[in-house]
Symmetry: C2
């Protein structure tokens, strides 16, 4: 089975696949971080999800019904990804019920996350969504360090803006406020979460 997997490498600026491309493969992140992006004709972008090592992507419906990718996948820095031909993936799931159950579980979790995000976008303010994002990243990507939790992903204010549905300027202003309030420090290259519980409180403030 495993011989069906091939490995590829990508760097900054590459596309793993583009929105609208036909779905040919099923993917797994091996190393690095991948972002799933949707964009509009006029150049606006929305980042749906950051994928970490071990995450599946493109294991969804488009792999089955022959349609095309609903969004693009881009590396955040250097990444390696594993790929399986969609037919092999399909056969593997048929033969291996446990794997199918794992995929169901994974997709169920992704769906839950997406719904949580929908709720945040619908009901929360910009600063709460940004705080929520930082809490999330600190938990998933942070390494403890003197001076706070350091994020291992390089994340510009623009990246953050795209992830929570605001403009770059608004992200910069809010991050400035967070910095003044001692919640965060640093910029993209070395971003620190200094007060995680403060951010948590903000994220869930009524």
């Amino acid at each position: 089975m495993l011989q069906e997997l091939t490995e590829s490498h990508y760097g900054k600026g590459d596309f793993i696949f583009r929105e609208g491309d036909p779905t040919e493969y099923f993917h797994i992140v091996k190393e690095g971080t991948v972002k799933c992006v949707k964009s509009t004709p006029d150049g606006k972008e929305c980042t749906l999800k950051m994928l970490m090592p071990g995450d599946l992507f493109c294991c969804d419906a488009s792999a089955f019904d022959g349609t095309s990718h609903p969004g693009s996948a881009q590396p955040m820095g250097d990444v390696s990804i594993l790929r399986m031909n969609k037919k092999a993936y399909f056969d593997m799931l048929r033969r291996n019920p446990d794997a199918a159950l794992e995929v169901i579980k994974f997709l169920g979790n992704r769906l839950k996350e997406a719904q949580e995000k929908t709720k945040d976008l619908a009901l929360d303010r910009a600063d709460q969504r940004l705080a929520s994002l930082l809490v999330d990243l600190a938990t998933r990507n942070g390494i403890t360090d003197p001076g706070g939790i350091r994020l291992t992903v390089r994340l510009t204010r623009q990246d953050m803006a795209n992830m929570v549905g605001i403009t770059t300027e608004t992200a910069i202003r809010i991050m400035g406020r967070f910095k003044r309030d001692g919640l965060v420090s640093g910029t993209a290259n070395r971003l620190f979460i200094c007060n995680l519980s403060g951010l948590k409180a903000l994220a869930s403030a009524s």
Copy 2:
């Protein structure tokens, strides 16, 4: 297998299950329309999805990992739903790879929809999101009728507001504008889409 399914009926004001309840069953809508809702402590609501006959719900991760419902399910009017104990569901999927693949496909589609919604909330204006909702409902729920496409679900301005992340007042104002522009007519009890392509154009306007 089918004997594992039990049928229940619900009416206006009932809850099929509430956010936070332990997940015990896997559900299918048999008749009527069900809404999936998330709410905040201070009474705000966000409707994630309207489920129609044939739709599965609660087939997701919470059924597997023993956690609780991430949102509530409420009927829009009278509904009947089919239910299967989660253990039976689990076993059924193990024994029946085709069923598991169907669930993967279904979840993949739900995920795609959720991501589309995320993009809309992040990048589109209120009137575009509302137009988009109406187009969607007309396609899924509409019956052609002299005077336009009539929606078979009773939908108040408040319901619409909760579905696209705006306030009731804003929904009323935008619907008023749509009515003046001849795009829609009527209110909750008899809501007509008079100009589907006009709404489509609005929904995807840059």
